[in-house]
């Protein structure tokens, strides 16, 4: 049975309305304010560091994003990893159940649009909001960086930073899709927010440790490797596999590959692979992207998968309260 008309009827209208709602909401303004403060703070810390150790670093500018050496805790990227999911969840946790609770859902769905347009419009509206915020933030970091150290960034640096920006938006999409899914699943906005935040905390902070423990239990370390002070390859591979189930791990690995051009591999590396390599020499951008490609695809796939699950849940839901 084919349905008549396009599923995207009204998509743009919903998207623009959501965008306008988000950009004017107190919630968003506060989050944006916090992010701005962090941008200024971390860039200042990084610039102090850079001024003190002016090493001959060809990628000086990327230090503003990745932070350097001792001040890893105050690096921009550390805070961004924390705040991007928070912003995404903050924008998404009440998108579907909010319409239910305001009793607007049945009225809106009685207009000539499909549910597809409403859900997808809400996702795109929130993602566009996040993208705007992140672009502003990105420009702010680059601008402040210029102001603080006065050295213009090179083309390669800007290109890397730009790919990093795109990946960050994609990372926001994962948490947004998750928040949207739970907002369709739970009728109470508070429950949806707590469950989403709980899952985020688990995946970002508990899972990396837990994956290590689980890997050690399933594949116990081989004493022959332990005697040599090495990790057992089997354990390491399993541990990495498990850790990469979390979007936070994937994002962390992509960031390392993009912002540190000397990264040659994400994961265990065999001596044979290092033959002929000039250690410490930077890779071109294309090669760095290639290293992180599986992770980038993984992030995108997770977003799509979560959105599809949310879509199915929403389509099967009864409209009446």
């Amino acid at each position: 049975m084919r349905r008549e008309g396009s599923a995207f009827n009204g998509l743009g209208v919903v998207m623009l309305k959501e965008l306008a709602d988000h950009l004017t909401s107190i919630r968003f303004i506060i989050l944006e304010f916090i992010v701005m403060l962090i941008a200024v703070g971390t860039v200042w810390v990084a610039s102090q560091d850079i001024k003190q150790n002016v090493a001959e670093d060809p990628f000086l500018f990327l230090r503003f994003f990745s932070g350097s050496g001792q001040q890893q805790l105050f690096s921009f990227i550390t805070w961004l990893t924390l705040l991007v999911p928070l912003m995404a969840i903050g924008l998404g946790f009440d998108s579907v159940n909010g319409e239910h609770n305001r009793h607007t859902l049945s009225r809106i769905l009685s207009q000539p649009i499909y549910r597809d347009a409403l859900l997808f419009g809400k996702f795109l509206g929130a993602l566009l909001t996040l993208a705007i915020a992140l672009v502003v933030l990105w420009l702010l970091v680059i601008g402040l960086g210029l102001l603080f150290i006065g050295i213009p960034p090179g083309g390669e640096e800007i290109a890397r930073a730009f790919v990093f920006l795109l990946v960050t938006i994609g990372y926001a999409g994962v948490w947004l899709a998750l928040a949207l899914l739970f907002s369709a699943l739970f009728r109470s906005a508070a429950t949806a927010a707590l469950v989403t935040l709980g899952l985020w905390l688990f995946l970002s902070f508990v899972w990396p440790i837990l994956s290590n423990v689980v890997a050690l239990v399933i594949v116990p370390p081989d004493p022959r490797y332990t005697a040599l002070g090495l990790q057992t390859p089997g354990t390491l591979v399993l541990q990495q596999f498990l850790a990469r189930l979390s979007p936070s791990t994937l994002f962390g690995e992509i960031v390392v590959a993009l912002l540190d051009p000397t990264t040659r591999a994400l994961g265990p590396i065999y001596l044979s692979q290092l033959q002929g390599a000039v250690l410490g020499a930077p890779l071109p951008l294309g090669a760095s992207v290639l290293i992180a490609w599986p992770q980038i695809v993984g992030l995108l796939a997770t977003t799509i998968l979560l959105f599809v699950i949310g879509y199915v849940v929403f389509q099967r839901q009864e409209v009446r309260a």
């Binding site: 049975m1 349905r3 008549e4 008309g5 009827n9 009204g10 209208v13 919903v14 309305k17 709602d21 305001r102 009793h103 607007t104 049945s106 009225r107 809106i108 769905l109 009685s110 207009q111 000539p112 649009i113 499909y114 009864e318 409209v319 009446r320 309260a321």
Partner: protein
């Protein structure tokens, strides 16, 4: 489908697993007719409405709205039908006009037409001066009227109103019923659901009484009255004059005359005998103080019907109503 039929349902059924919410109901609504779906909460009225709009799947049966099948062509149906849900909600942080603007964009009206329709609809719903007020400050009655304004703006051919009067004070109810009558005068068909029988009795041309997912009775209020209460017309007279009861009893069609008080008589008749009764009183040089016909009350019909029908499922419905 008849040209003058706008909604036609045949054997419409909705079941959730083993529980049947709407059980093979059939009805038609004509152009410009006000049709009431009446019955207790949980009798299947809202579910029926959602099936008409294509907002929930139809388990069995056929339904046709303005020549379209809501399950296959929901957009065509939703473009032509306005819906005011039970406890209608709006975006509180937006103004009344902005709320309608959002809906108008979803419908696809262009800018100039949009603004014109919105201003007109708000005026007609009596909200013209509140166009730029936030909906958060609106009372329940105003929200209901904004919902009606949305239907007016849409230029719908059918207005489906779910419990439009629930929670409204008598003044707001009267205003709302006024708007509903205006729909009819413009040729818009109205399908309204309610559990408050006496409030909607006055506006409905025909009603369907719901009980436990079935339509127990369907027809105009007076038809149902005669069918269920049996009595037909009840005429009350207050007049003096000796031997009046005997003379009134001779009027053709009067089955019984009852003395209800001093100088007060009640006629049970199979038709409206007011003109003849008045003529009799005047002919006797009596003084006529009051003459009125009792409309059968829907509530009386409802209670009488379900007490008289020893059907298990229907009894259950009557218990819900209590």
């Amino acid at each position: 489908m008849n040209m003058d039929t706008v909604i036609e349902a045949q054997g419409l059924t909705k079941s959730y697993g083993r529980k049947v919410a709407v059980d093979h109901i059939s009805f038609t609504v004509g152009r410009g007719e006000i049709f009431g779906l009446l019955g207790p909460n949980g009798a299947g009225k809202t579910t029926t409405i959602l099936m008409l709009l294509g907002l929930t799947d139809i388990s069995d049966g056929k339904v046709n709205v303005l020549g379209f099948d809501p399950a296959r062509e929901p957009l065509a149906v939703k473009r032509r039908v306005g819906y005011l849900p039970d406890t209608v909600g709006f975006y509180d942080h937006l103004t009344a006009a902005d709320n309608l603007r959002y809906t108008a964009r979803l419908i696809g009206f262009r800018f100039l037409e949009r603004e014109k329709r919105i201003a007109e609809a708000l005026d007609r719903a009596g909200l013209g001066e509140f166009a730029d007020h936030r909906v958060g400050t609106f009372s329940r009655g105003m929200r209901q009227r904004l919902g009606l304004a949305e239907i007016l703006m849409k230029g719908a051919q059918i207005a489906i109103l779910d419990e439009p009067t629930s929670g409204l004070d008598p003044h707001a109810t009267a205003e709302l019923l006024g708007v509903i009558r205006r729909f009819k005068s413009e040729g818009v068909s109205v399908l309204l659901s309610s559990h408050l029988l006496e409030r909607v009795q006055s506006v409905c041309d025909r009603v369907a009484l719901f009980s436990a997912g079935r339509i127990a009775l369907i027809g105009s209020v007076s038809e149902l009255g005669r069918e269920v209460l049996g009595a037909g017309y009840v005429v009350d007279i207050e007049a003096d004059g000796a031997g009046l009861p005997d003379r009134l009893a001779l009027i053709p069609g009067v089955s019984r005359v009852e003395q209800t008080g001093i100088g007060k008589l009640r006629l049970h008749a199979e038709r409206d005998v007011r003109p003849e009764a008045a003529a009799e009183v005047v002919a006797m040089h009596g003084r006529l103080k009051y003459l009125g016909v009792q409309e059968p009350s829907l509530e009386a019909i409802y209670i009488h019907y379900f007490e008289a029908t020893p059907d298990e499922s229907l009894k259950e419905g009557a218990r819900h109503a209590a």
